[in-house]
Every structure is written in structure tokens, then in C-alpha cells.
């Protein structure tokens, strides 16, 4: 089933951390397995925010010297960053298996990302100037507390509560997906993609990497591929309706945009609220009501509908 939610403030910053937490907590019944947030704060000029995980939560529970292994992995990641000339400005070990860095780096970020991911067991969750991507097992309140998301000031964000249907319950299959290696782009998805393997092979042939067997990761890779080839976000969303089969509603966020696309059958729900200063959308209206107590007008986007909003 899965629940997705997104919001974008126009021309102002707000506590998107708490707002997204409230929305996703209201959607908990659509997916209790894992929760993820992609929130966009003030872009750090010239610096990058990099979030990575060095192990699965499941591995951490096993004990048996995993802490030492994780420490070694993180040390290796940092060695590789320094080797490539990146300067670590802030290092925050948010969870035993997850780290947040602020880096200054002049070189090629894609090359750096690929080099870091060669370290066994590590996966970069996000890389960009404004994007902070958090995902872990548990409901929205728990994940937000563990990663201290409350009070995060930003312009927009997307989020996801997952009920695992296509692949395992682990962080690697949790949403949102960062559109590797495209800075600041993230994707959440509700649905099933039926030509996943064909599309995945096509993307792999073009040199893209897949970290999980989750069909939603394809949308992130696909979007990154299109953006890298010079398409706008709207063009990419439109093309996906023709090229990707199955039932889906998905949201894509970039550093200053939020977009949505709905498949040709309109089989997956989305409720949309638009006003002059805030646009909010979610799988169910309860999520929008969680942040807007007053009476509002909402609509269901139709089949093949594509929308893009500017922050």
C-alpha cells in the first residue's frame, strides 16, 4: 500500500521537519515498516551535505563486533573523502549506523560518491547542497526523534511510510530514494512497476547503479538519467507515464521544485491542496488535515496528470 506525502512553501521557510512528521504519522496505517523523509533546507553555498549508512539496522542488532566493523567502514569513508580532496567541516554520527557530513569539495561529486560507495556495506543516502535524506525502520515519530528532525527549517519536503510488498524490510529498500548521482534530487513512490526488470536492465546498460531490488529505486534512477540528459523535471515526469508500466503515483523533489506524476489508470491515490503560500499533497486527506486544522478545499489529480511547483 504505502503512504506518500509532500509539501512546498512558497517564498518562505517553515518547520518542515515537524510538518512532515505529522503528515507521515497520520499515514502510519498505510505502511508501518519504515519511514523516510527528504527535506530541503537553506542551500549551503559551496558546501555539500552528505548522509550515509554504514550498515543495515538488522546487522546492528546482531552484535558480534559489528560496531567495530562499522567504525572501520566510516574511517575508510573519511579516508577516501580526504584522499579526493574533500574537507569534512561537520561530522555527526546521528545513529550508530548513520552519519551526516558537511563537506567542502571542488571536484567531481559523482566520482567522489562512487569512490565512497566502493566501501563495503555503505550506501550514500543523499548528497547535495540543501537535501537532507533520512530513512530508517519504524514509524514517523520514532524516525524523526532518532534523527532529531523536529524544528528543521526548510522550504519543501517529501516523505514515505512503507508497507513492503516488492522487497525486504530494510533501510536499503526504504524511501525516499536519492537520484544517484544527481545532487539534491529525491523520489517517493506508491505503487508497483511492472516493467521494472526491463527498465532496470536498460538503465544498467547505460551505466547506472542499483542498490536494492525495490521497484521504486528505478524511478529515482530514471529521473536522474533524464535530468542528466538535459530534460526538465516536468518533461521527465511526463515521459515516465509513457515509458513506465504499472500503477504508480510518485513525487520528485529537487532543490527548488516539487513534482508529481500519476499513471494512466489513476489507480493510486493522491489528494492535493493548493493555496497561495502552501501546497500539500498526500495519499489520504487525514495527512493534510494533520497540518491544516481549518476547513480547506482539496482535489484528486486525474490519470496521467503531471504537476510541478516552484518553491
Amino acid at each position: 500500500m504505502c503512504g506518500i506525502a509532500g509539501l512546498i512553501h512558497r517564498g518562505k521557510r517553515s518547520d518542515v521537519g515537524s510538518e512532515m512528521t505529522a503528515m507521515l504519522q497520520a499515514l502510519k496505517h498505510r505502511g508501518p515498516d519504515s519511514t523516510g523523509f527528504a527535506v530541503y533546507g537553506e542551500p549551503v553555498k559551496g558546501d555539500y551535505v552528505l548522509r550515509l549508512k554504514a550498515a543495515e539496522q538488522e546487522d546492528m542488532d546482531k552484535g558480534r563486533g559489528i560496531d567495530k566493523v562499522v567504525d572501520e567502514r566510516i574511517a575508510e569513508v573519511e579516508r577516501r573523502m580526504e584522499e579526493r580532496g574533500a574537507v569534512i567541516k561537520v561530522r555527526d554520527r546521528v545513529r550508530p549506523h548513520a552519519v551526516r557530513y558537511v563537506l567542502s569539495h571542488d571536484g567531481d561529486t559523482e566520482e567522489l560518491a562512487k569512490y565512497i560507495e566502493e566501501v563495503d556495506g555503505t550506501e550514500i543516502l543523499s548528497f547535495g547542497n540543501g537535501l537532507e535524506l533520512i530513512k530508517d525502520l519504524g514509524d514517523a515519530t520514532r524516525v524523526a526523534e532518532e534523527y532529531r528532525l523536529q524544528g528543521f527549517k526548510g522550504t519543501h519536503g517529501i516523505g514515505h511510510t512503507r508497507m513492503a510488498t516488492e522487497s525486504d524490510v530494510d533501510i536499503r529498500s526504504a524511501h525516499p530514494y536519492w537520484a544517484f548521482p544527481y545532487n539534491d534530487v529525491s523520489v517517493v513512490h506508491n505503487g508497483q512497476i511492472t516493467n521494472y526488470w526491463n527498465m532496470r536492465r536498460e538503465m544498467e546498460r547505460r551505466g547506472h547503479r542499483f542498490m536494492s531490488d525495490c521497484d521504486s529505486e528505478l524511478l529515482a534512477v530514471y529521473t536522474a538519467h533524464n535530468l542528466a540528459n538535459g530534460m526538465t523535471l516536468e518533461e521527465s515526469l511526463r515521459r515516465s507515464i509513457d515509458e513506465i508500466d504499472g500503477v504508480f503515483t510518485y513525487l520528485v523533489a529537487t532543490k527548488d521544485q516539487l513534482g508529481m506524476a500519476k499513471d494512466t489508470m489513476a489507480a493510486k491515490p493522491l489528494v492535493l491542496y493548493e493555496s497561495d503560500d502552501l501546497i500539500a499533497m498526500a495519499s489520504e486527506e487525514v495527512a493534510i488535515r494533520a497540518i491544516l486544522p481549518h476547513e480547506i478545499d482539496t482535489v484528486d489529480p486525474y490519470d496521467e496528470e503531471v504537476r510541478v511547483w516552484q518553491a
Binding site: 489513476a266 484528486d300 486525474y302 490519470d303
Partner: protein, 288 residues
């Protein structure tokens, strides 16, 4: 084979079929049995239905209550004889006001989530906000009027009553509907009237693609543009009877367009998919 004569046992298939009476039995062609006499006395009310008084009015504040608590409270109030109930602050909760089997004035001040007022038989419901997916699913009788928009599968499988949305609705409106009337003031999405079997659907605005796909029967009236018709949905002539009915029905809910109803397009089943009665008697023998 015990009853068969000794001579026929070794014969060909044709002889055996004749012996079994397959070529001689008269087929009347009647496919529908009559299970009850319409003239018979029937008890149409449920023995557990509440007898309520419309003049007894009360409110429920849904804030802080779960769906089950709100529905339980509503049931208790009906048992006490309250005939007009206002539910405040529904805030998009799912499954509110379901399974009401008696007459009742029910007013929601706000919006409902999924499966609102489903499985109802009799109440008059007014919703001042919007509704989520599958509103009034399987409604048997009564009226439901929604002031704002509605989600997908609006009025799925309804059998009777009037279901009215003044705004626009999502996709698959009236899927599998078996009776009653669905009225939409605005637009409807793709695959509306999918596998519709009976009843009427009126859309004052535009309709999405594949309208009336695989419909068996029933009628769809569309005031605006139709993006495309589904399989076996065909346009039919809008008769004076249709116009009179549309005018009367739309006026009842204040949705009659200023320019009248002459511009409406009427869509019915082409009945090209009706294969089940077109078989030859021998073919029927083989498959039944």
C-alpha cells in the same frame, strides 16, 4: 450407462447422444427463473432498524474520537431515538457513518476520508466538505449530498438512492453500479461507469477516457466533453423522456445548468459483449 440398451452401447457418439435425449429435448430458451412473486407480501424494513424522530437533534464532536467510537456513539443516539445528528470535525477520518439501515438526517460538518457512509440503506446525508475514495459504496437507498469534491470509485456498486457530488469526482465513478442515481456537478475521471449494470449516472461537466467501459446496461448522461468511450459504450438519442427526467432530477439538487439539458450526451451499452444468450441450443449443451 446402466439404463442404456445393449445395442446402443457399442455405437458411435451420435447414437449415444440421441439415446440420452440431447437432440429431442425441447429448449424453451428461458434463462431467468422467477424466484419470488412480486405480489407477495414482503417485510422491507430490518427488524433491528431504529425508529427515530427527525425533530430530536444532537451533535457529536469527532475530535479525539476514533472512527469506531464515532460510529458507536451514532448507533447509541439512534437507539435513543435521535433523528437528526450533526457530526463536527470529521477531519478526513475513514469509514464514518457506515452501515446505517434506517431513516436519519445525518450532517457532516467537514470532510470524510475513505469509505464514508458506505453500506447505508435509508438515511439522508449531507457532507459540507469533501469525501475520499469509495464514498457511499454499496448504498441501497437514501440520499447523500456532498458539497465539495469526491475521490475515486465514487458510489461503487450502489444499488439505489441518490448520490450527489456538487464538485468534481475522481476516477472509476460508479464502477459496477447496479441501480440508483449518481449525479456529479463537475467533472469525472477515467473509466467512469466501468462494468455498470443498471442505474443512471449524470455528469454535468467533462468525462475522462474510457467512459462506460464494458458496461452491461444502465445510462450515462454527460453535459461536457467525453475524452473517449470505453469498449461497447455507444452514444444514444436523448429522448424527451430523458430530458424530462434530467430536468426534474437536476433541479431537485439545484444542479440544473442555465442552458438546460439539451446539450447532454447519452451513453448506453452497445450490447455487443452480450454473448451469453446468443448461443445455439447445441452450443449451450456443450458448455453448460
Amino acid at each position: 450407462m446402466a439404463g442404456m440398451s445393449a445395442e446402443s452401447r457399442g455405437d458411435g457418439q451420435e447414437q449415444r447422444a440421441r439415446d440420452m435425449g440431447m437432440t429431442t429435448e425441447a429448449l424453451t430458451g428461458r434463462t431467468q427463473q422467477v424466484f419470488f412473486e412480486p405480489s407477495e407480501e414482503e417485510r422491507f424494513t430490518y427488524p433491528w432498524a431504529h425508529d427515530v424522530d427527525y425533530n430530536k437533534r444532537t451533535e457529536i464532536d469527532a475530535d479525539g474520537l476514533t472512527t469506531t467510537e464515532v460510529n458507536k456513539r451514532l448507533r447509541d443516539l439512534m437507539a435513543e431515538g435521535y433523528g437528526t445528528v450533526v457530526i463536527q470535525n470529521p477531519r478526513g477520518k475513514h469509514g464514518l457513518g457506515v452501515g446505517i439501515l434506517n431513516r436519519l438526517n445525518l450532517i457532516f460538518e467537514g470532510s470524510l476520508g475513505y469509505f464514508g457512509v458506505g453500506l447505508i440503506d435509508g438515511p439522508n446525508v449531507r457532507i459540507t466538505g469533501r469525501v475520499g475514495w469509495s464514498c457511499a459504496e454499496n448504498m441501497m437507498a437514501g440520499t447523500v449530498v456532498i458539497e465539495k469534491n469526491a475521490g475515486s470509485t465514487f458510489g461503487a456498486a450502489i444499488r439505489g438512492g441518490d448520490l450527489v457530488c456538487r464538485g468534481s469526482v475522481g476516477s472509476r465513478t460508479g464502477i459496477d453500479m447496479k441501480g440508483g442515481t449518481i449525479i456529479v456537478g463537475g467533472d469525472t475521471g477515467a473509466l467512469s461507469g466501468f462494468m455498470m449494470q443498471r442505474g443512471r449516472m449524470v455528469v454535468c461537466g467533462n468525462a475522462g477516457k474510457n467512459l462506460g467501459d464494458s458496461m452491461y446496461d444502465g445510462t450515462i448522461y454527460v453535459g461536457g466533453e467525453i475524452r473517449s468511450l470505453g469498449v461497447d459504450a455507444v452514444e444514444a438519442e436523448l429522448t424527451d423522456l430523458d430530458k424530462a427526467w434530467l430536468t426534474r432530477k437536476l433541479r431537485q439538487y439545484g444542479l440544473l445548468p442555465d442552458k438546460g439539458v439539451d446539450h447532454f450526451t447519452k451513453i448506453v451499452a452497445g450490447k455487443q459483449l452480450w454473448n451469453y444468450d446468443n448461443l445455439e441450443p447445441n452450443e449451450k449443451k456443450l458448455i453448460l
